[in-house]
């Protein structure tokens, strides 16, 4: 096997494992990868693109709602959090999902400062995940361009 391809594949395996070990991803991401096949070769990238578009929209909605100082509609904020929790759960974005669980409780408690802090954390977290997954896709591209196959990574 070409040494360069083997090295890239090893790098890829280690990178994926680190994403799970550091809590960025969970089993649902594995499920997502398993659904990608020749019939839907870009499925994971498409779903993730929709997810990150969702993040931009929902974070924007929540920011605008929280800007209404004194008249914040916590139900509306909570509804957006609920939707983000659902979509993050569906793609395996573990840290984002975890933040949303906490965020929902803060909305229910009408804790304004807590909500603002949590929103900032959500913003950072989804952008961090997006950058990490972009690195993952770049590694996949390098492997393919070097003539190799992107390996399946057993995370157990």
């Amino acid at each position: 096997m070409d040494a360069h391809v083997a090295q890239l594949q090893m790098q890829y395996r280690n990178y994926i494992l680190s994403l799970y070990q550091q809590g960025f991803l969970d089993d649902q991401f594995t499920e997502l990868k398993s659904l990608q096949d020749d019939g839907s070769p870009d499925f994971v990238a498409e779903v993730l693109s929709l997810f990150f578009d969702d993040c931009v929209k929902l974070v924007g909605n929540m920011a605008r709602a929280l800007d209404q100082i004194g008249t914040v509609d916590f139900c509306q904020v909570g509804a957006n959090v609920h939707q983000l929790k659902g979509s993050s759960s569906s793609v395996g974005a573990k840290r984002v999902k975890g933040l949303c669980i906490n965020f929902k409780e803060l909305c229910e408690a009408k804790n304004y400062e807590g909500c603002v802090r949590c929103l900032q954390q959500v913003d950072i977290e989804y952008k961090t995940l997006k950058a990490k997954l972009q690195d993952m896709f770049n590694l996949e591209k390098q492997i393919v361009q070097a003539g190799g196959i992107v390996p399946q990574v057993d995370i157990n």
């Binding site: 659904l35 096949d37 839907s40 659902g86 759960s89 929902k104």
Partner: protein
């Protein structure tokens, strides 16, 4: 892919679906609609989507819609899953309806959703492993 002479049975990789499904996916989240579309495709089905319960009801208004299965999200704007399910049953829609809930929903909420006319309830996130046995069992019944 293997088919019988009637063409009714398809094998997709190692997964068998007893009959080609026509599915309506009802969810306000585009991420989840996409995920469910791919899951249905992966088990050999075809799907159409609706963004909320009101769209799902409107699809059935002319009486020509014919779905084997409806995957119905619970929390949606305009018309939620519970209301949409009740309305579809009032309209004599006989499709199998599987409610899609979250783990945050309590037992009472799930019960109310079931009583609206669901055949079954599953918690998000859906997966092939969760949905396939249920579809095959329900289709056999």
């Amino acid at each position: 892919m293997a088919t019988t002479s009637t063409g009714d049975i398809e094998k997709t990789k190692s997964v068998e679906v007893k009959k080609k499904l026509n599915v309506l996916i009802v969810d306000d989240d585009p991420v989840i609609r996409k995920l469910h579309e791919i899951i249905i495709k992966s088990i050999g089905g075809i799907s159409q989507t609706a963004k909320n319960g009101e769209e799902a009801v409107n699809i059935h208004r002319d009486g020509n819609a014919s779905f084997d299965l409806i995957l119905m999200d619970k929390e949606m704007p305009e018309r939620d899953g519970l209301s949409a399910t009740k309305k579809l049953r009032e309209m004599k829609v006989t499709s199998m309806i599987i409610g899609v809930t979250t783990l945050a929903d309590n037992e009472e909420e799930r019960k109310a959703f079931m009583e609206a006319g669901l055949n079954h309830c599953l918690a998000k996130p859906l997966s092939k492993a969760k949905i396939l046995p249920l579809i095959n069992n329900l289709m056999d019944a």
